[in-house]
């Protein structure tokens, strides 16, 4: 994954804050934000996850003219192999870690460069063989300064997780 241009915008921060039911006005009101310690609207802690919006190749977004695996007339828009189905598309999320060098704010234009990390396997009690893979994304600002380092771990399961 590479995100070449992730413009941080106040309206996007507002929508993101709403979606995590966070009514801290620092995410909504620039006048209020001036009275806070950061002195500006900032992004909520997990906001850089929304860089997916600016990844042209992001696989979990329907694209014009391309088949989509969600339901329409049929339960899935594409034929899929029956094995390894536990993750649906792109596996499940096992871990997420962030290190904040500073907090993004409206006006920032971030880039995100992702590098693969470790991979490992484990036998899962509820889902068969688990294959974990780590990726590290460095978000840098318009001046090339590191803003957020994100480390994600994804897992593919042999079958859906038993409930």
């Amino acid at each position: 994954m590479a995100v070449n241009k992730f413009p941080v915008e106040a309206s996007h921060i507002m929508m993101f804050a709403r979606s995590v039911a966070d009514d801290n006005q620092i995410y909504y009101d620039d006048e209020y934000a001036k009275t806070t310690e950061p002195g500006t609207i900032i992004a909520p802690p997990t906001f850089v996850q929304a860089s997916a919006q600016f990844d042209p190749d992001y696989s979990l977004r329907p694209k014009v003219g391309a088949p989509w695996f969600g339901s329409g007339k049929e339960p899935s828009g594409i034929k899929r192999e029956s094995s390894g189905g536990g993750g649906g598309g792109g596996g499940l999320h096992a871990e997420q870690h962030y290190e904040y060098h500073r907090h993004p704010k409206p006006g920032d234009i971030l880039t995100g460069e992702t590098k693969p990390g470790k991979t490992w396997e484990k036998e899962g009690r509820r889902s068969g063989k688990l294959v974990f893979s780590e990726s590290i994304t460095e978000y840098r600002d318009q001046n090339g300064e590191l803003v957020v380092t994100a480390r994600g771990v994804g897992v593919r399961t042999e079958r859906p997780v038993d409930q």
């Binding site: 996007h12 929508m15 993101f16 709403r18 979606s19 995590v20 039911a21 966070d22 801290n24 620092i26 806070t36 310690e37 950061p38 900032i42 909520p44 802690p45 997990t46 996850q49 929304a50 997916a52 919006q53 992001y58 979990l60 977004r61 329907p62 695996f69 969600g70 339901s71 339960p75 899935s76 899929r80 189905g85 536990g86 649906g88 598309g89 792109g90 499940l92 999320h93 096992a94 871990e95 997420q96 870690h97 962030y98 290190e99 904040y100 907090h103 480390r151 079958r159 859906p160 997780v161 409930q163």
Partner: protein, 140 residues
């Protein structure tokens, strides 16, 4: 308001209810804001018939995002230095989640006073859905 090291002690806790009776609409809202449109989160037909789960379930990142709200409400705006979690159980529509931060250590790091917190989010059955940590700058 920022935390003060002099007023913190190991074992202090802060808790919030993150959501009561999680609605599918909130999961849709998160899909739209984050850009993660995996049908497992919003498409009941695909999720039950193709992926074979009992229903759609929340993005792990929605639970982490709501847990982050508890953390920033506790440590104050712009104070967070690190935040990481493991997703230990799925979160389903109808779940009620509570999150707790527990002070583990107050220390110096890079010339700043910081608090290290253990972070845990549980559902209405007491099962842990998120297990993690946060580190935040505090006043001396």
């Amino acid at each position: 308001m920022a935390l003060k090291a002099s007023e913190l002690k190991v074992g202090d806790t802060y808790s919030e209810c993150l959501v009561e009776d999680l609605k599918r609409t909130q999961i849709v809202q998160y899909a739209g804001a984050s850009g993660d449109y995996n049908p497992l989160h919003t498409d009941e037909v695909f999720t039950t018939q193709v992926a074979k789960y009992p229903s759609v379930f929340a993005h792990g990142m929605l639970s982490m995002g709501m847990t982050g709200r508890m953390v920033t409400n506790y440590v104050g705006d712009g104070r967070l230095k690190k935040f990481g979690v493991r997703f230990t159980n799925q979160v389903w529509p109808g779940d009620t989640l509570n999150a707790t931060a527990t002070v583990e250590e107050i220390t110096e790091e890079d010339g700043e006073t910081v608090v290290n917190l253990k972070v845990e989010t549980t559902n209405q059955d007491g099962a842990t859905v998120i297990s993690g940590y946060a580190c935040a700058r505090v006043d001396a």
